[in-house]
Symmetry: C2
Subunit: 203 residues, 2 copies
Amino acid sequence: MGLLSVLSLAHKWTSERVQTGDTVIDATAGNGVDTLFLCELAGPKGQVYAFDIQERALHNTRMRLERAQQEGKRLAPVELLLQSHDQMAQAVPEQQHGRVAAVLFNLGYLPDPNADPSLITRPQTTIAALESALALLRPGGLLSIVLYPGHDGGEEEAASVDNWARLLDPQAAQVAEYRMLQKPHAPYLIAIEKRKTNQTKEE
Amino acid sequence: MGLLSVLSLAHKWTSERVQTGDTVIDATAGNGVDTLFLCELAGPKGQVYAFDIQERALHNTRMRLERAQQEGKRLAPVELLLQSHDQMAQAVPEQQHGRVAAVLFNLGYLPDPNADPSLITRPQTTIAALESALALLRPGGLLSIVLYPGHDGGEEEAASVDNWARLLDPQAAQVAEYRMLQKPHAPYLIAIEKRKTNQTKEE
């Protein structure tokens, strides 16, 4: 069967925690693979928010969602937001704060030949966005982060996310890491589950 | 639901690869938790080999298996072997070489108040045993290693296993690591799946 790839495990753990009707967030729409995945999980009664700072990414995502709908897939309504994911708390309605089932981050650059390769996610906004995402999650909700240490600036970003996750209060969230050991530059997964019992943070 | 613990994930991945009737190995019998788990997975038509260098460990394991049988559990026959796991290739019959479905290693010391705390697994025999285990596995079989960096000598052992696993030929095996990031001294898992397509090693 093969060991699960990093992306497959991120999807598997997310799908175990999302029900139809849930609100979920794709923090990095990119080409829309994760957005489509979340739209299918949340279903027509759910709600998806997808962020990207590149018009091309939102265009690619929109195309992918339309194709899926034409193929008869029943998707959640989605808001495609051309803004940085560190603004997500402002974009998600207040009554959904603390009720989001899952947030996906797929960091790095947009894998599109027409994209600007200098546009990559940066540690400072990434950490701010991760903090927002954790606050938006419901207890038991999952924050899933796929890191790409292989590109320029990727290692630095991975190190700062790693460091941030490592220091999260264990009473507030539980953090696991999954990686393919023979490929130190390959993407790897940090999964963060918000605790159910304690609510240590003001939100 | 909580993120899976390291031990639960080791059992989950093992159970996904073992069928009733299979031959499986517990390289570190300890108190018999993994031996019992493997005996249930392999069932009465399977075969389990369990190794430990401490008589007390095999005694504890025997007690646990007997209790389970008295409770009506249907277990695989098991050979409890008082010898170092680096001798496993000699202990397992030759016709089973290359046909073993799974091997579990749970490294460190025996968690028993009457055990000798100076008896811990050591890098040199551990690596030799891991090499044997990989050779004994069938294609698609799983080698699961739980490492304990928290005790004296544990960090050194974990580092050498990590280093060994990291350098395995990707054509021969695939290696994943799973750990809880907030607990650097907690046990963590290295899972190694033998490749199905290539047989690069003479066995």
